[in-house]
Symmetry: C2
Subunit: 557 residues, 2 copies
Amino acid sequence: MNANLSAFEQAVAEMRSAVGQQYVVVEGEDFALRSRDTIPWQRTCSAVVYPGCRDEVCAVVKIAAKIGLRVWTFSKGKNWGYGASMAAYDGAVVLILERMNRILEVNEELAYAVIEPGVTYQQLSDHLKSHGIKLWSDCTDSTPEGSVLGNALDRGLGHTPYGDHFGSLCGLEVVLANGDVIQTGAGPAEAPAWHTFKWGSGPYLEGLFSQSNFGIVTQAGIWLMPEPEVFQAFFCEIQREEQLPAVLDSLRRLALAGALRGTAHLINDVLFLSMMVQYPHEMLEGQAYLSDDARKRLRSSIGITPWTLTSGLYGTKAQVKANRALIQRELKPYGSLTFVDRREMATFDKLVGFVKRSQDRPLLSWLSKIVKKWLIGPSSMEVLEVIPHAVSLLQGVPGDFIVRFAYFKSRHARPTTDVNPARDDCGLIWFAPVIPLTGDHGNRLLDLCRPVFHEHGFDLSVSFIVVNPRSAVALMEIFYDKSDSDETARATALYEQLCTVALQDGYQHYRTNVANMERLMSHAPEYQKFLEAMKSAVDPHGTLAAGRYGSESRPAD
Amino acid sequence: MNANLSAFEQAVAEMRSAVGQQYVVVEGEDFALRSRDTIPWQRTCSAVVYPGCRDEVCAVVKIAAKIGLRVWTFSKGKNWGYGASMAAYDGAVVLILERMNRILEVNEELAYAVIEPGVTYQQLSDHLKSHGIKLWSDCTDSTPEGSVLGNALDRGLGHTPYGDHFGSLCGLEVVLANGDVIQTGAGPAEAPAWHTFKWGSGPYLEGLFSQSNFGIVTQAGIWLMPEPEVFQAFFCEIQREEQLPAVLDSLRRLALAGALRGTAHLINDVLFLSMMVQYPHEMLEGQAYLSDDARKRLRSSIGITPWTLTSGLYGTKAQVKANRALIQRELKPYGSLTFVDRREMATFDKLVGFVKRSQDRPLLSWLSKIVKKWLIGPSSMEVLEVIPHAVSLLQGVPGDFIVRFAYFKSRHARPTTDVNPARDDCGLIWFAPVIPLTGDHGNRLLDLCRPVFHEHGFDLSVSFIVVNPRSAVALMEIFYDKSDSDETARATALYEQLCTVALQDGYQHYRTNVANMERLMSHAPEYQKFLEAMKSAVDPHGTLAAGRYGSESRPAD
């Protein structure tokens, strides 16, 4: 031990000896990248640590606790738009668990996997395919390099019937602030039902480790979907903007009836555009956001409708037929409704590929008409290109096509590979309130938020995600040009104003970014006091991510 | 204030002034009944308090905390076989919330109700019917006077697709040990999604209030099932005892495929017998339990098979047809499979009633043959009588016919009304381990437990309850004659031995009785320490049910 070293340097030295020299990073490009995301708020960490196993996690936590360092843990740190791998404040030690990436078990019979936090969507999906395992994983529409567990613990959402990711977790191994390791469920070690029965014996505690700072999850079971006999994607192109409330009511009825099993996504025109093209500044006509008329012209030129619904059907032939009939009855009145099965999708892929490669103008025009007519009504090449990616997600196959929408207002070219909006300085903030799944609430929330978007000079971009038969997340995107300081300031002000107006009507966030967690419980002081009393008892020095999701105040230092 | 009163008497006086003279009971018949259940362990309370509202609950908690009294709360105290309204130790103040029995809201559109703890299955079911609300509640097969919330917080099970009662809770109001009142979800008071979105913002805490002692739930939202277009009950009579593992594997496949949506119950012959007749002592032939041959003869005389499965189909006509086809394919090989819809059930009811009332011998014989043939193969009048009750439960309509099985070995006559096995000194202990839903685990558990039952001179009575597509509760009943001290001692020893052998193989309890909670976490010391640290922080004097579900050790006094 060197007496000349500061306490921090001493801790770094100890952490290096615990996890290996190269796995504690305090400078350089990788270190700098860990303080970047698409949100306008920035936090700088003091060190980035890459432990290789659970025992190394325990060791790092103990070393940090000794000198009062705060440890913020991320599985992969790809949580773009919510903070990526940034803590809520400067100076935290950032733990990245990407080296812990073992798939420990896949139980095909009971349809679950046991994985470590570093396992990505791509890795899990590939593993199942290459081993011929007849189970499907779910994924988000963000990067295939995202962590399955990290997203689930943050309660993220996907596209299949297993799209409520936290709802699919069962049986966690957790490192506590004191370095103890526990298994949820209160069972003996490796109890047979650990990954099949959530509630366990006594209090059900797994919820305490989601969107929180009570422990570091080092492995978990996740339920997977048995490959269905039949899969069909479906798209509904809603003709009129004002049909939204009726559509939301239809979605509730379909979900309650079990016809809509997937995590349906209903996206508006601006969001759909962002997936296909760069922001059409040329259509602003001096305004800061697109006029109703401009959006109408854009929709018409690219071939989309005010709202587009995507979801999937899964089951036996007869189950799918029964549910499809219900969906047709409910959704047909709103516009064109298209169902695509896997065989059709393959043909479609080939045709679209051929159309794109063909340089023969008349042939191109003729083929493109066929593809459009056959599948989805009048449409454009841009729309046709999105479809295969949407259909993949509905089967739990990840891809980074959709998340490129984060480049919508960026001056950085939209990449075709190595998509990384945090690194590329894209501007995106999520605002994600939850509503009861009724047309009235959908309308009310949009009526609250739309003027705020406009007032700050932004277009309303939104998708309603049916997260359960009774609720939807109204996921709004604030796209902004991060290189424009005025626009960045307006985006920040917009976000803050949205939080205020939505909360006044009682709409809470399903998930929030790391710089804005304090406001979550500001209106529920007894609740916060209760949570903080428990947190203080099991983590008296706030070693684990103090301030995360408001369950302990940000430290004073 | 009277200086001559003891601290306890003083507290009683204060509680009386808070809730009303007649609502604090320290002697008499009602008081004595609160220390009785069907389990062989007895605990005596010091007072029974009946608060009328949330504020009175807060007041009682504060008064109790002042002098270190322990408060054990029960909604109705009908938790027969698990302890009813007994605490884990003598001297507790027992809070019964039966006066808080308001149905605060039914939201038909979003399919949920908000209720107080005193609301019973019967009350909720009647309320929905009498108001013409097209929603179904779920219920257990115990008394219609049980509390909907009490059972859900204890994570009890029912029979419809909403049979995982804790899984159907959403949005709790909780009184804490310090008298604070919180709403789960971290939202502003009365947030619109409070009863539609479970996870809320930040850590999901509702699990912390199930099978626990972290708070007293004073109201909650519970999701209800929209009345399906079509309901069909189905019964499968499994021909051979050794088919059990194959049947369990079939049930898993059906549940994973979404065909089996209800909480299917697969009961063995002894349990089925207990619902129909008194224990057949005359067939023991000197043994303490029924021989294989005796059970065979009993089955044959009463017309049942070694295993019987009951569950329901719910949905549109086409959905039910699709799922029924899957069920037929999987279950047909095991024995007779009968589906009954509501119209058939009404006709059946009438026929059975007529057969029972008829005194004309030849007519009786002829009619009885028709009824049997028509519905369910060779059977007896006793079996025919059970069917309507089973079918009611599958529609969430409660009844006290089934729970009369608690009188199986009692010398008390099996009542037709006012069923109350705790009052009537029946002997019943539940043993309720959870298994992954595979034939192997089912077999393994029975192979572990059957010899232990026999060794102690008892028949194995068991139902496998499919609680989710990946797990089943193997709910075993220890029926004993409480007036026989030897049999009572053997029942006690049997229970303890079952706990030991099952736990050795890792099978935890899904739920346990109040006298045996300590052993739940004995094998998970770090887990228990974590839980106790949190409990001590929010309830330093152990005012709320210290010792419940092992989350704080029983007090030393």
